[in-house]
Subunit: 168 residues, 2 copies
DNA sequence: TCTTTGTCTTGACTGATTCTAATATCTGGG
DNA sequence: CCCAGATATTAGAATCAGTCAAGACAAAGA
């Protein structure tokens, strides 16, 4: 693993440290593989699929296996450090930004996914009647729509749908 | 868990006719297989997976194939007659109740799913800023919680999680 | 009836994820 | 330092949900 060059202290580094720091302070063994997964996740602002995490992790630690990526992601989710999002299309995405409550905006055209903070959240509720005796744990809101690219003419070469998709 | 004894038919029958009637009046060939799928879907008040639809359909029309069930469900979804819901756990569920806008309440314990009409929907929105240039198409809200059974002690034999699960 | 068109079935196939069993690595005690 | 036990990692097989493709079948029109 490339020893990080001392100079590269930028905004992402802060986030990385934040997540990795939190992990270190748990009773969780922070191995090379696990750190790489955590760093990859925290270092991207789009929501990556397990496969995409694997690709990026392999660039840093070529021996890492897909199974380990899945294991690690599942552990992070279980610890509540990472949020798992299923879009209904294709693989699940993983979102490290769990400190701030947020919801999602999904592009039905290309599968792009971004975080949003809707308004009017506080008034959203289920009447006792509608609650059917459930003990509520949370709520997920997904706005569906069409991103600027996908609204476009779609005449020419469209735009390929890669695992990236994430419009910066 | 015992399904509804013969008495409760009336209301459901109405729904069946309603869906089948709508289908008949489209340019859609209403074959035996397709009608069975539609009836099975409309006849249950829990949201079934494709596999569960297949099981029930086979009890009525044993020769029906799983592929046909999938094809038919996808067609119904494409026509807007049926709503496809992915819970993030396990297979997709299909919900024939598309006439009334509704959202869902999901049990994190057993996977049961029911329709709900939240309050405060009208004030829920994305500011222009948060909309990121998307052309909004809709919004899905899933309340997550624990149904009465799943809140229980969990001491003795718990309750098995079958494909039914539906806490009627 | 013959043809055309559309539907259905079977079974192979893909993609996403999990499981398994063997191997490697870490940690604490002597 | 070396060992034992616990934990992590690996490669690949297995599983699950869903799709695809090719031929069999069935209904509607000439």
């Amino acid at each position: 693993m490339a020893r990080d060059p001392a100079g590269a202290r930028n905004a992402e580094e802060a986030v990385i440290s934040e997540l990795v720091e939190r992990l270190r302070s748990r009773d969780w063994r922070l191995t090379a593989q696990r750190r790489v997964v955590a760093e990859v996740l925290a270092g991207e602002h789009v929501h990556l699929s397990a496969e995409a995490v694997y690709d990026r992790a392999r660039r840093i630690l070529p021996e890492i296996s897909l199974a380990t990526v899945y294991n690690t992601l599942n552990e992070l989710v279980a610890m509540g450090e990472v949020l798992e999002i299923s879009t209904g299309e294709g693989p699940k995405r993983y979102d490290p930004n769990t400190t701030v409550a947020h919801h999602h905006l999904y592009c039905v055209g290309c599968g792009g996914l971004r975080d949003v903070s809707p308004e009017g959240l506080d008034t959203l509720s289920l009447s006792a009647d509608e609650r059917h005796g459930f003990e509520l744990v949370g709520v997920d809101i997904v706005f569906r729509g069409r991103c600027p690219q996908c609204q476009a003419p779609a005449t020419a070469g469209a735009h390929a749908v890669t695992s990236e998709s994430g419009s910066a």
